[in-house]
Symmetry: C2
Subunit: 136 residues, 2 copies
DNA sequence: ACATTAAATCGTAATCATTCTTAATAAAAA
DNA sequence: TTTTTATTAAGAATGATTACGATTTAATGT
């Protein structure tokens, strides 16, 4: 995912182009890591003094819906990151300090779904937490 | 984990025995599934009319600290369940409707830690969501 | 059993993340 | 440029969780 194709996706789905949306997308493209709504707000507040939380949250949800961003939940707080460019199903190592991520290519789901025949599996979460080299 | 050994654990760590704590533990031992703080409150309110959220939360945290309960987070809400009796490391299938769980014996963590040599891994989460046979 | 002490509880207010509402504003279409 | 419709600001509302001061209760020693 990159800013240009994200903007195209917005347009293709009938949503308008705004400076705030573009700047939010640019932020995510520069910081390839999980950011909280608050972090996003703080990053854009210099440029847009009266920027409201509502705008941030509304756009984050929209981006999630359009699969521009992916979301995870940590300590009762949602965090968003740019969707990974690869179509290849994968999971992440997530730095608890800065939100930086690394790919994990193995997926533990292969066998599970079959074994759980009397359980209708609709989703899963595999995340590994710790500290990246910069934050150790 | 069972009520008797949970009560013993409380005592051994210098915490007092109260009717409310025992009833909370009994509830978890009867419902072997994830419960929210609200569900716990509602279950005990008949017996204790003036029961406060503070009491529920304080005790849930205490139980978590003593590893009497284990916790997960779903849709911005903490949910607690009796710790599994087995010492064997494992994960869960979790019913999104009723919170019922089933064991998953495979653990995807075996290789990961080694491969992530420049990443200090401190924890992980592997949960599979869906609907149990009763809730489908 | 009774008094003492420290922990537990109540009732309520505060907090934090998130969502909602209404009126004003700005982008796209005609 | 006007109209239409989406987007935004500002702040109130919500829902889960935590914090606080005053009161009550469980454990301990006498």
């Amino acid at each position: 995912m990159d800013v240009v194709s994200a903007l195209k996706k917005l347009k293709d789905n009938g949503y308008k182009h705004t400076d705030k949306r573009e700047d939010m997308l640019t932020l995510f493209s520069e910081e390839k890591r999980y950011l909280s709504a608050k972090e996003v707000l703080e990053n854009l507040q210099d440029e847009y003094p009266g920027l409201s939380f509502d705008t941030i949250y509304r756009n984050l949800s929209l981006f999630e819906e359009l699969e521009i961003l992916e979301v995870t939940e940590l300590n009762g707080e949602k965090r968003f990151r740019f969707s990974c460019e690869t179509n290849h199903h994968h999971h992440h190592l997530i730095c608890l300090q800065c939100g930086k991520t690394k790919h994990i290519d193995v997926c533990p789901m292969e066998d599970i779904t079959l074994k759980a025949s009397d359980f209708n599996v609709t989703g899963h979460k595999f995340e590994v937490y710790g500290y990246c080299s910069a934050c150790q």
